[in-house]
Amino acid sequence: MSDMTEIVKRISGVNPRKCMKCGKCSAACPAYDEMDYHPHQFVDMVENGRLEELMNSKGIYMCLSCFACMERCPRSVEPAKLIEAVRLAVVRQQDRNHLKPEQIPALLDPELPQQAITSAFRKYRK
């Protein structure tokens, strides 16, 4: 798991030690109540090697990638990049794709833009 933590830090480019624990990321997060772990916890838990818990969390699929946490962080920690890296660490594993093509037809409605499906595919599977 510690190798995985290093990979997550490397591909995200995030240095969790820059965090000063002010919680502004979680204060800015519009999806806070949908997530089991919150942006500031991602930073803390990656730093403390608690990656597995994050990888099993539902929160990684609830992050909107709206970058409010990145924009407002006073220390430029960029939690959104970390959350994406954790999500990648999951979906890059075999059979861990979060979204399967056969699920799609049921989700469609006539007005749904392609963008929604394209982005879901890109975010949730490899």
């Binding site: 820059k18 000063m20 624990k21 002010c22 919680g23 502004k24 990321c25 979680s26 204060a27 800015a28 997060c29 806070y32 109540d33 919150h38 500031h40 409010a68 407002r72 006073p74 220390r75 430029s76």
Partner: protein
């Protein structure tokens, strides 16, 4: 024949841990001219100094090399030591083997090797040193204090008290500074005006103090003991000697829509104004950006109502030339602009205010007469949210400051406490990252806010403020409670970071005083010389040197005054003997040196020289005034014939160092 002694310092383990001091002293003992070489634990200690003096006498040393910390630290110490033993102070050279060797290298072999080379360079230089005697220059017994806030006022009062005349230059029409805008002071909660305004009056009445208000320093020339300063006194269009401060003009002026800077634009003033009731000097000023008379030539109401005949629409800026022996920078601070932090909706709602604006809203002389009312609709707020560290402790970049602004934790506790005390029906939240309250009675004060006044302190930050239907929807994190909070607030108060005043940077350039990357003035030594600038004769008072609260500012102001008094008490100053010197036999009189000298220290004289066959040749040669020369060395390089050289840093000495390093 040179007899050089080498003294290698361990500096405890600071040097000895990464430099083999024994190897260094052994290696340097073999250098030509070295007759004695040793090493010792603390060369700067009394025992170390005694040893140097002893060896000077024992070996008849005529040159000393100390391998130790930076010459900026102890060069003066070792020079004095040697002088006491009868050796000229300028026969001492320091090899910097701590800051520039042991502290930057980890490998002992590398460090030792480098220390030896640095020692060799110093030995090579000392071979060419010559005894130097310092000249003297007179001290002008008058001080200049730039900035008339509490720091400047206190410094000026203390200097004046010691009997020296002092001028305060203040850019605003009145002295007093930021403290005039503050309502109450922490942790005692006494009224700021009640303790400040008597000091302002003292300053005005002290016969040694001359207040030059509404003025700015335009240029500074000269050096310690002998500064020449040009001060621009801005036209206030009111004759200061005639105005009685009755204030009738400020009531009759028809131009009523001028944002009142004293209340931070929360209300309006007239085009002719006295900043506030206790202003010093209590003299009106006309704001040329708004005065109808000055802009269109039609009006003149103030002139008609002024019984003293003080109004003068033709007044021009005035340039004063003054001379001073010492200068104190006391330019203070400003809260940063909230423009780049609009997640807190500062620009979108008048009910989002900065802490300084909140001071005005709580102040009896403020726009609401001391009743806390919302700027948007004048109603009484029930829920208030305070946000700390807005723009402080950021990781640099264009947004925010990397440092802690130091005063915000305490004034926020004060605001929260006062709000709860005056209005027990309010709910007050303070969002904090850390509460920092080092200081006498500070933490007790903060705990009182929490325990006795029921202020809700929440560990976390505010992430978004959304003004909607007359409320401010605050979205914040409560890290200890593990939840995102949503509060419908009536007012949000932002503890904005503080930064040095805008005028500090250009002033530092004029004073050639150094600044740090945040534009705070740098002190000569962070621990041991905290109120002096590295530039001799320039002193630092108050928040221009770093964020500080009122007691600290007053303490530092007094310390700066003590340093100024120490300087002005001297009749003569010892000059730097490392000055330029022209070899008249080589000088060809070209004037190149004279043109580059920034101090006008070089003059030309016609002088008779013996020519061939008993003739006399009259030649034009350069002469350096050693009292004026500051020893920069610009002339030495400009001189095409090589006649000009710098004592203590001569061409031969520097080349010898180069040779020793490159060997």
């Amino acid at each position: 024949m040179q007899k050089i002694g080498v003294f290698v310092c361990w500096c405890g383990s600071n040097i000895a841990a990464t430099v083999d001091v024994q190897a260094v002293s052994d290696a340097l003992a073999k250098e030509p001219g070295v007759v004695f070489s040793t090493n010792y634990q603390y060369m700067c200690s009394q025992a170390g100094q005694d040893m140097i003096q002893e060896k000077i006498k024992e070996y008849g040393l005529n040159g000393v090399v100390v391998c130790s910390c930076s010459p900026r630290m102890h060069e003066a110490t070792f020079r004095k030591t040697c002088e006491k033993a009868g050796l000229n102070a300028y026969m001492v050279e320091i090899a910097n083997i701590r800051e520039q060797c042991s502290w930057i290298h980890k490998d002992k072999e590398t460090g030792t090797e480098k220390a030896i080379i640095l020692g060799r360079a110093a030995i090579a230089k000392v071979h060419l040193n010559a005894p130097l005697t310092a000249g003297t220059s007179p001290v002008i017994k008058r001080a200049l204090v730039i900035g008339g806030g509490i720091a400047g006022i206190q410094t000026a009062l203390d200097i004046a008290e010691a009997g020296f005349p002092v001028d305060i230059v203040e850019k605003k029409p009145t002295i007093g500074g930021k403290m005039t805008q503050i309502d109450k002071t922490f942790p005692t909660l006494d009224c700021a005006a009640c303790i400040l305004t008597p000091k302002m009056v003292d300053a005005a009445q002290n016969e040694n103090i001359n207040i030059i208000s509404y003025a700015e320093v335009e240029s500074v020339k000269g050096f310690v003991g002998n500064f020449h300063v040009a001060i621009r006194k801005k036209a206030r269009f009111v004759d200061e000697s005639k105005c009685t401060g009755c204030g009738l003009c400020t009531e009759k002026c028809p131009q009523k829509k001028v944002p009142n800077e004293f209340n931070l634009g929360l209300d309006n003033r007239r085009a002719i104004y006295i900043p506030f009731a206790q202003a010093v000097p209590k003299v009106a000023a006309i704001d040329p950006n708004y005065c109808t008379m000055l802009k269109t030539g039609k009006c003149g109401v103030c002139s008609k109502v002024c019984t003293a005949g003080a109004i003068d629409y033709t007044q021009k800026d005035e340039l004063l030339e003054r001379e001073y022996g010492a200068i104190v920078a006391a330019t203070g601070f400003e809260p940063i602009s909230m423009e780049k932090f609009d997640e807190f909706a500062y620009s979108q709602s008048p009910d989002v205010v900065t802490s300084l604006e909140f001071e005005r809203l709580m102040n009896a002389a403020g726009p609401t007469g001391g009743t806390l009312l919302r700027p948007s609709d004048g109603t009484h707020p029930h829920t208030l949210v305070f946000v700390q560290c807005v723009g402080s402790r950021c990781d640099g970049g264009e947004k925010g400051k990397p440092y802690c602004s130091k005063i915000c934790c305490m004034y926020t506790a004060k605001h929260a406490m006062l709000t709860r005390e005056k209005y027990p029906d309010t709910d007050v939240y303070v969002f904090y990252i850390d509460v920092r309250t080092p200081g006498k009675n500070f933490d007790e004060f903060y705990r009182r806010a929490v325990e006795d006044y029921g202020v809700h302190y929440v560990k976390g930050m505010v992430g978004k403020v959304v003004p909607e239907n007359g409320k401010l929807k605050v979205q914040a994190s409560d890290l200890l409670g593990g939840q995102q909070l949503h509060i419908d607030a009536d007012m949000v108060v932002l503890a904005a970071a503080i930064e040095p005043d805008q005028t500090a940077r250009p002033l530092a350039t004029m004073l050639t005083a150094s600044m740090d990357t945040n534009d705070f003035f740098t002190e000569a030594h962070p621990k041991l010389r905290p109120v002096e600038s590295p530039t001799a004769g320039v002193f630092l008072s108050g928040a221009c040197q770093g964020p500080k609260d009122i007691p600290e500012t007053v303490a530092q102001a007094g310390a700066a005054a003590a340093k100024v008094i120490g300087l002005l008490a001297k009749d003569q100053l010892t000059c730097n003997p490392c000055v330029a010197n022209s070899n008249e036999l080589m000088c060809n009189g070209c004037s190149a040196c004279e043109k580059v000298c920034p101090y006008g220290a070089i003059t030309y004289v016609d002088k008779d020289f013996r020519g061939p066959n008993r003739t006399t040749l009259r030649r034009r040669v350069a002469q350096v005034n050693p009292a004026v020369c500051q020893g920069c060395g610009a002339c030495t390089v400009a001189c095409p014939s090589g006649a000009m050289d710098l004592k203590g840093f001569s061409n031969a000495q520097i080349m010898a160092e180069v040779d020793a390093i490159c060997k």
